[in-house]
């Protein structure tokens, strides 16, 4: 029982991390119909920015996490939003009318650029760094014999708040309406007076800000950051991408559902079957979903209603 609860908790925190990253893939796909392969590098930079700001602010201790946490989160989200905006403006917008393959290759190019630029001495360097402890790793409470640390609670609550905020933004605001309109039909939306370029820019900024939150959560959860070109980041981005596809890429709720599904299957498989095979479970699900329900779990159901 203890192990079961523990694995559930692990799945919940990992799912929160995947969900925040998967949303970036799905938002961009929803609006522009292309996969932003540089997204995982925005996550990396978000995590490193949290490290940099934590250092600059000198709040490396756990003195006042209530102030330090939100400030660092806001700052790294702002930097990544600006980065997302710049990437779209410089790399993707000129190719808006080009074949989709060109944009995909450009995305891989941007990804390599960010990975290798991050390794420069005056950016982040190549050394692994310890993320300052913003939150205590002490247990907040004990549930069925499982110690639930403060950091895990904060991770889940933070992810939940951001996901609810995104739901509100997409479904309850004018910007969200415009995003959905562009997603439905770009040209018609433009004819109806929607500023498509602005909507696309906002989409990239929102997705990148969520990626920064995901990166910061990664840093809080694991405590160490590897250099920007390490395969850890690629694998993290790839799994979040799988989550988005499994949930139905382009679908906001699907990405969240896919993220938690992937995380729970990965965690339960690793705990009760073989930990060596954890990536096999993740990519096995991807293959199964692509064969059985190519639109993703939530993707197709809505399509049928249209």
């Amino acid at each position: 029982m203890t192990k079961f609860v523990q694995v559930c908790l692990n799945g919940l925190t990992l799912g929160s991390l995947y969900a925040l990253i998967a949303l970036g893939y799905t938002l961009v796909y929803g609006v522009l119909r292309f996969i932003n392969f540089a997204h995982s590098d925005v996550v990396t930079i978000g995590a490193w920015m949290a490290f940099v700001f934590a250092g600059i602010l000198g709040w490396a201790g756990t003195d006042s996490p209530l102030i330090a946490m939100p400030v660092i989160l806001m700052l790294s989200m702002a930097v990544c939003a600006a980065l997302g905006f710049t990437i779209e403006r410089l790399a993707y917008r000129p190719l808006r009318r080009a074949p989709r393959l060109n944009v995909l290759i450009t995305a891989i190019g941007v990804s390599l650029l960010l990975q290798n630029a991050g390794q420069l001495k005056w950016i982040f360097g190549t050394q692994p760094q310890a993320m300052p402890k913003l939150l205590s790793e002490q247990a907040l409470f004990t549930l069925a014999g499982v110690k639930v640390p403060v950091v895990d609670v904060v991770v889940v609550v933070l992810a939940f708040v951001l996901l609810v905020a995104l739901q509100w933004l997409v479904f309850r605001t004018r910007l969200g309406q415009a995003m959905r309109a562009v997603s439905f039909d770009e040209r018609t939306a433009a004819l109806m007076g929607v500023n498509v370029d602005m909507v696309v820019s906002y989409t990239f900024m929102i997705g990148s800000a969520l990626a920064a939150a995901g990166g910061m959560i990664y840093g809080l959860k694991y405590g160490s950051l590897l250099q920007s070109a390490d395969s850890v980041w690629v694998l993290l981005g790839l799994k979040a991408f799988v989550a988005a596809v499994v949930g139905g890429i382009g679908n906001v709720r699907g990405a969240v559902a896919g993220a938690f599904l992937i995380a729970f299957i990965e965690m339960f498989g690793a705990a009760y079957r073989s930990p060596q095979m954890r990536d096999v479970y993740v990519f096995g699900i991807l293959i199964a979903v692509l064969i059985l329900k190519p639109g993703g779990l939530l993707g197709k159901a809505t399509v049928e209603k249209v």
Binding site: N10, F37, G223, L235, P275, R278, T302
Partner: protein, 413 residues
Amino acid sequence: MNLSGWRPRRPFISAVISAAGLALAVLAVMSGSGCEQKRNATGSGGGGGGTGTGGAPATGPILIGHYASMTGSEATFGQSTDQGIRLAIKERNAAVDAGTIKGRKIKLETLDDAGKPQDAGNAVTRLITQDKVTALLGEVASGLSMVGGQIAQQYTVPMISPSSTNPQVTQIGDMVFRVCFLDDFQGNVMARFAREELKAQKAAILFDQGQPYSKGLADYAEKSFKELGGTVVTRQAYGSSDPDVSAQLSTIKEAAPDVIFLPGYYTQAATIMRQARKLGITAAFVGGDGWDSDKLEEIGGDAVQGSYYSNHYSPEEDRAEVKNFVASYQAEFKVLPDGLAALGYDAANLLFAAMDKAPSLRGKDLAATLAAVKEFSGVTGTITIDPNRDASKSAVVVKVEHGRRVPVKRYAP
């Protein structure tokens, strides 16, 4: 509600599949450090393709090559080793200038392999064919030394690995040497320490399945621990690119071991110990020389305090070689030398000693001289090269204690 009302089109699906496939291929290349070379040794003079060092000039400084992970997730390994080598060269060249040593000066060419097998292969090929180095130093990671060793053997250029502990490394052929102990010995030391000093009865093992070093050490520790009457309650693996080991740790927690063997590299080892303490695991961790970096404590914080690892030396040991080395290293680089710096220093000095004694600097002659080294007194202990071109020497178990590496016990070979 759906963000988009799109209809899935066939081209999209194939795009997703091909994109995912492409990304996987990229990943496979990037995480390839787990590649384990199983090719057989080519034996002496095998292939006959090498020109050796025929193009090297007979006067002026001797050029030696060093390939190392100067960047990447094991960057401190390469950088420490390189600093150790540079210190040895500086001292040697100063001695030649002063006339206390008869011999030629040394020049070093260091190439970065970023901790990746393909880059290591390229670096070694370049050092041998373009720079025409007389001898090679490197690598730290066993997986990479196996790649470099194959090439050195093919071109008959002697190579000394300062710190690759996997037994397969020197089995490549008569050109490949090392100055560190082997994993079977190190695994035995870890097991003996856990059994005799920590009085552990039940052990858990958690290793990196992508690193031959980690897997080999896990196997030897397990074998020795069982032979000494202990039981291994669970054996878990993690991936080199997987930061999350909570599932494995949950299983380990349930098995309630007295000691956990964690023969990985420092970055992940520190992260794992943090996660373990967070989950409430209180058992002592015992690691290998892959832990030896200041980053271990920087990343692990309180979680790594009181853990033990077997190492080549401790800067706190009371020997003249250690004291002199630590003093001059600190004067030069302003930091405390880790075990890899000490091994780099020893490997370079052992190579210089052989160069001065060898009848010529041709690969075969130099290798024969290296093979005959007996009782070389280095910072990391007294080194004798055995018939397998491995170093027969002792190991020390150190305790991590707030920035200090307290030597607990030294084990003779």
